[in-house]
Amino acid sequence: MQKSNLRIVAGLLMIPAFLLQKNLIMMIVQVAFIMVIAVLKGRKIKPVPVLVVLTSVVLMNLLQVNGKVLFTIGSFSVTLGALKIGLDKALTLIGMLYVSQYMVSGRPKLPGKFGQLLSKQFLFFEHIVTSWKRPERGKFIESLDVVLEEMEHIYPDKDSFKSESNILYVKKIEALTETFFVLFMWAGFTVGILDILPVG
């Protein structure tokens, strides 16, 4: 198997173990684990957006009264059911985001003509990022024209799309590591459905 596809396969095997999780505590453990492996694979965690998503989704769900009242703030009642639903939705969103980050960290290559076109798009994107300079005042469109016209003269090396030397294959240790990640997620799922934790 190609190295770039290994994490896609591993991620796809992890997703059901995460999405089918019903225990909130195990869900938090799984999200933390996913974030750790995403960081191990070179992705960065931005705490502020994570916290904003967590609080905004939970707060919005708290507006709908559901189940046992935990406490009240003025006329506003915080209910257990709404809190659980909010946390479940927020953790699912954050967890899936980092599973996705982990899956693309191997720089997967899409097959076929669409994959080639995507490679071309990234080649052009790289060109814009490297060649874009701050335009002079009032000359934004002229500067944009220059960059867009330059790209028409970039011809991706057709052989580079096919070259076997560019393809890296999976080593045994990498396959074992990814297998451990998948097993950990399924172990978390199993603990969750067995209902052996005191809370959740």
Binding site: G11, V52, M60, A90, V99, S100, M103, L148, M151, E152
Partner: protein, 216 residues
């Protein structure tokens, strides 16, 4: 459809086939260029601070607005899919719910803008088209957020979300108007499209109208 090949083996057929392949290559390259430009704009947008992480300015939709007067519907679909998949891969959101929001909003707004452009293109500028696209995209994203994240509390964030989309889409539309009027690159590609449509019309004897904004 975009990658199909003409298998007519007569000399005239070969010429036409060669011309069609050349034009197709040219426009596919330009689709990739605009898709890359869209990625660049989404990176710029990413750097602009926003009060909520899911709030969007919609800068990355600019190439699609510009593309309305250049590309056919299948080509626009390809551009939109490249934009969505490219953003998903770069931001690492391709396997997350955020991808669903991006795909729903982008495809819906592109189709709506295309309809408005084709049906009312003579009566509206890119500003109106851009507002239509932004409102469609925001409505789809709010609907998805209603079912997947916020439930009925969505009405609380809906007004600022829609208002922000409305304001930014006006600026995007103004920029698209100025760009299509001043850009050399845009003038070249629309001229090329006219040549292609003329040669296709000559060879097939059919009538087909050019896009109203490209003609302007």
């Amino acid at each position: 459809m975009l990658f199909s090949k003409n298998k007519d083996s007569t000399p005239l057929g070969k010429n036409l086939h060669h011309e069609v392949v050349e034009h197709t290559q040219y426009f596919i390259t330009h689709i990739a260029i605009l898709a890359a430009f869209s990625l660049f704009l989404s990176t710029v947008e990413y750097m602009i601070p926003k009060p909520l992480p899911f709030m969007r300015i919609g800068l990355a939709n600019l190439p699609i607005i510009i593309g309305l007067s250049i590309f056919s519907l299948p080509e626009l679909l390809l551009l939109t899919v490249l934009k969505i998949v490219g953003q998903g891969l770069i931001n690492g959101t391709i396997f997350s719910y955020i991808f669903l929001f991006s795909a729903g909003g982008s495809l819906g707004s592109m189709l709506m803008m295309y309809c408005v452009y084709k049906l009312l293109g003579r009566f509206t500028s890119f500003i109106g088209i851009s507002i239509t696209g932004a409102m469609t995209s925001n409505a789809i994203q709010l609907l998805l957020a209603h079912f997947m994240l916020f439930g009925s509390s969505i009405w609380i964030i809906a007004p600022p979300f829609l208002l922000m989309g409305f304001i930014t889409s006006i600026f995007l539309g103004i920029f698209a108007n100025v760009f299509t009027r001043k850009s050399r690159w845009y003038a070249d590609i629309t001229t090329r499209r006219k040549i292609q449509e003329n040669s296709m019309r000559k060879s097939s004897g059919t009538k087909g109208g050019l896009n109203s904004h490209a003609e302007k």
